[in-house]
């Protein structure tokens, strides 16, 4: 049975907490207090909802994918179209929320970490909208993989700072953003992009993303008159998934499936299957499942999708796994690509590689469900950003 999480220490059962250098502790406490104050503030929420509607174009549709449903010949498949948001993914929901909070807290500078660049673009966008100075930390390797997003962020007026430490990917971008924050904590707001990190970030990000699940719940009740049987969402850090799952938490008949990246396969060293193969550990501010060796050194992750290429996962997901409320399964690069192409050809929608992992899992379970059952897939983002990576992958015969 799921209790009310997190507790006042930011704990989700054994997971979560606040494992950061002392220098950041007061900033996190101040952030928590401000967040809780504004989360209950009508004016703040009205302004945020207005931005979500007028600026980002919410609500996003819950689209019945008829031809995809017919292809699998099982459950009715609905797609929650987060890809239709401004900037092309669910990341904007959280960036608008935290950006507005930064403004209310009187901060003039924001920083962010980014992997694929989606959260970086969302943060750069929001910084432009609110007139804030913006720095985005991005692994040097990711900058090469996602040159278009780097250019996009610069166009929006953000400074993109290459991260050359460690694996030069998302995890190191996160470390570098935290290091920068430690040095500039008095005037800088850290807009963290996923439901990870020290308390209150996992809570705050979940609550800014729950609009996905809140809308889905209302929409499916309107169209079908009942709740879905199963909800599937991709999990890197896990922000779109937790935002989608959370409003259904107490609907115990609604099954949750989180889909993580198996990369080249969970029997190879090249994967990001944190839930399937990880163990409990402390990483980037919280206790959660983690890809690590027996000595507690964090292991590099691998996925064709830069957004899932992360060795950690949000603490609430670890809690949902241990309590059995949600199930987490791995999908390989190849399976995700097949699912991506199938959606292009059946529905005329190019999904993000991250979302394609959820679609691939939907393809596994839909045929085993009956035609009167409902399956919702969170289509967290659009695939325009990935077209170049996919071309490279195809040209190298599947060796991305």
């Amino acid at each position: 049975m799921i209790g009310q999480v997190p507790d006042t220490k930011g704990r989700y059962g054994d997971f979560g907490g606040r494992f950061v250098p002392e220098t950041l502790m007061n900033a996190l406490i101040e952030l928590e207090e401000s967040y809780l104050k504004y989360a209950a503030d009508e004016e703040f929420n009205a302004e945020l909802n207005d931005l979500l509607k007028q600026y980002s174009g919410r609500e996003t549709s819950l689209y019945y994918a008829k031809r995809l449903t017919e292809h699998y010949g099982g459950a009715k498949i609905y797609l929650k179209r987060e890809d239709l948001n401004h900037t092309g993914a669910h990341k904007i929901n959280n960036a608008l929320g935290q950006g507005l909070l930064a403004v209310r807290m009187g901060k003039k500078k924001v920083i962010a970490e980014t992997g694929a660049g989606q959260h970086g673009v969302a943060t750069a966008t929001v910084a432009a909208l609110f007139g804030l100075e913006c720095k985005v930390f991005m692994g040097e390797e990711d900058m090469q993989r996602q040159q278009l997003n780097v250019f996009r962020m610069r166009l929006l007026g953000a400074e993109v700072i290459p991260v050359v430490s460690g694996t030069k990917t998302l995890k190191d971008a996160g470390n570098e953003a935290l290091r920068y924050w430690v040095s500039n904590v008095s005037d800088t707001f850290y807009i963290l992009g996923s439901a990870v990190g020290p308390h209150p970030y996992p809570l705050m990000v979940r609550n800014f993303q729950r609009v996905i699940g809140d809308e889905t719940r209302r929409q499916i009740l309107e169209t079908e008159g009942r709740l879905p049987d199963t909800i599937v969402a991709a999990v890197g850090g896990g922000s779109n998934a937790i935002g989608m799952f959370y409003p259904f938490m107490k609907d115990e008949d609604v099954k949750f499936v989180g889909v993580e990246a198996a990369g080249k396969g969970i029997d190879t060293p090249l994967h990001a299957a944190t839930m399937t193969l990880g163990t409990k550990g402390v990483f980037q501010g919280s206790m959660s499942y983690l890809l690590q060796d027996e000595y507690g050194q964090v292991q590099p992750a691998h996925s064709i999708s830069a957004g899932l290429d992360y060795p950690g996962v949000g603490p609430e997901h670890s809690y949902l796994k241990d309590t059995g409320r949600a199930k987490y399964v791995p999908i390989t690069d190849d399976e995700a690509l097949d699912a991506l192409k199938l959606l292009c050809r059946t529905e005329g929608i190019i999904p993000a590689l991250e979302s394609a992992h959820a679609l691939a899992q939907a393809g596994k379970i839909a045929p085993e469900m009956s035609s009167d059952q409902l399956l919702v897939v969170c289509l967290s983002g659009r695939g325009d950003k990935d077209v170049e990576s996919i071309m490279a992958y195809e040209n190298q015969g599947g060796e991305a």
């Binding site: 494992f19 950061v20 250098p21 002392e22 502790m25 290091r179 430690v182 027996e294």
Partner: protein, 272 residues
């Protein structure tokens, strides 16, 4: 009173009677390799180091600047683990090194070793103090209990941003207080947080424990500056960078002795 904990206390008592300031160097264990670390430790004691911080390498050292990040990466290539570091402490004792050892480690390597095993072996290896930079006071109760049981001092860290938290942190303080000189990660810097002197004086006025300052102190001039009102001064990145610059010499049999002497000389010049 446990002997290891006593020895941190004794060290500060002796230095205070002499009217001096404890020099507390830091190095990353296994940089460039375990054997060299063992030899450097002997040189540091001869150079006048009073307490030694042994840094455990970690894949994601988020409180550290680039110099210690690089040292960590080099040590990890040598497959250095928490056990290796404890082993180095133990062997150094066998080599006759007498200064107290403080282990500086991120939490996850300790957690994966298992708290029971960690504290048992740390005690056996003669570790007197422990700094875990990513475990703040609020998350520290179990660690503090186990450290107390093992007779190891879990050192409190306070930062210029700690403000009203200082009182609570100091109430649970053991060994000596580690004051973070400025906002930011470890690494040499020309200037310190505005108001750092007032901050340290404030900490001193609230505790009977010795107070040491660290983060960014790299020259004799800076050591002297802080010696006027601190009981101890930690020098980390400057020493690690000196070691880094001498790696080709340390790895060359003909030049190794000379390189070790250069490290010793660098540290001896910091001693006030």
């Amino acid at each position: 009173m446990n002997t290891t904990l006593h020895s941190i206390e004794e060290t500060f008592n002796r230095i205070s009677q002499e009217g001096g300031t404890a020099l507390i160097p830091f190095l990353t264990v296994g940089d460039p390799d375990k054997e060299t670390t063992l030899e450097i430790i002997q040189q540091l004691e001869q150079a006048g180091a009073d307490i030694l911080e042994l840094g455990v390498p970690y894949s994601d050292p988020l409180a550290d600047g680039p110099v210690i990040q690089r040292a960590s990466a080099r040590a990890l290539e040598q497959l250095v683990t928490v056990r290796t570091c404890l082993d180095v402490a133990k062997q150094s004792r066998e080599n006759g090194v007498q200064m107290p050892f403080v282990l500086f480690t991120y939490y996850n390597p300790v957690l994966q070793m298992g708290l029971d095993q960690f504290f048992e072996q740390a005690k056996e290896s003669g570790i007197g103090g422990l700094i875990i930079p990513d475990v703040p006071h609020e998350e520290s109760s179990e660690l503090l209990e186990r450290a107390d049981a093992a007779g190891i001092a879990l050192l409190p860290l306070v930062a210029p941003t700690s403000s009203e938290r200082i009182e609570r942190i100091l109430n649970n303080g053991r060994g000596f207080v580690y004051c973070v000189s400025s906002l930011g990660v470890t690494g040499e810097r020309a200037s310190f947080h505005e108001g750092v002197d007032a901050f340290i004086q404030d900490v001193k006025s609230r505790t009977s424990l010795p107070v040491a300052v660290g983060f960014g102190i790299s020259s004799r001039e800076q050591v002297e500056r802080f010696s006027e009102f601190c009981d101890g001064v930690v020098v980390g990145s400057a020493i690690v960078r000196t070691i880094e610059s001498l790696i080709p010499d340390l790895m060359n049999a003909n030049r190794r002795e000379d390189a070790l002497l250069q490290i010793r000389k660098f540290v001896a010049e910091l001693k006030v």
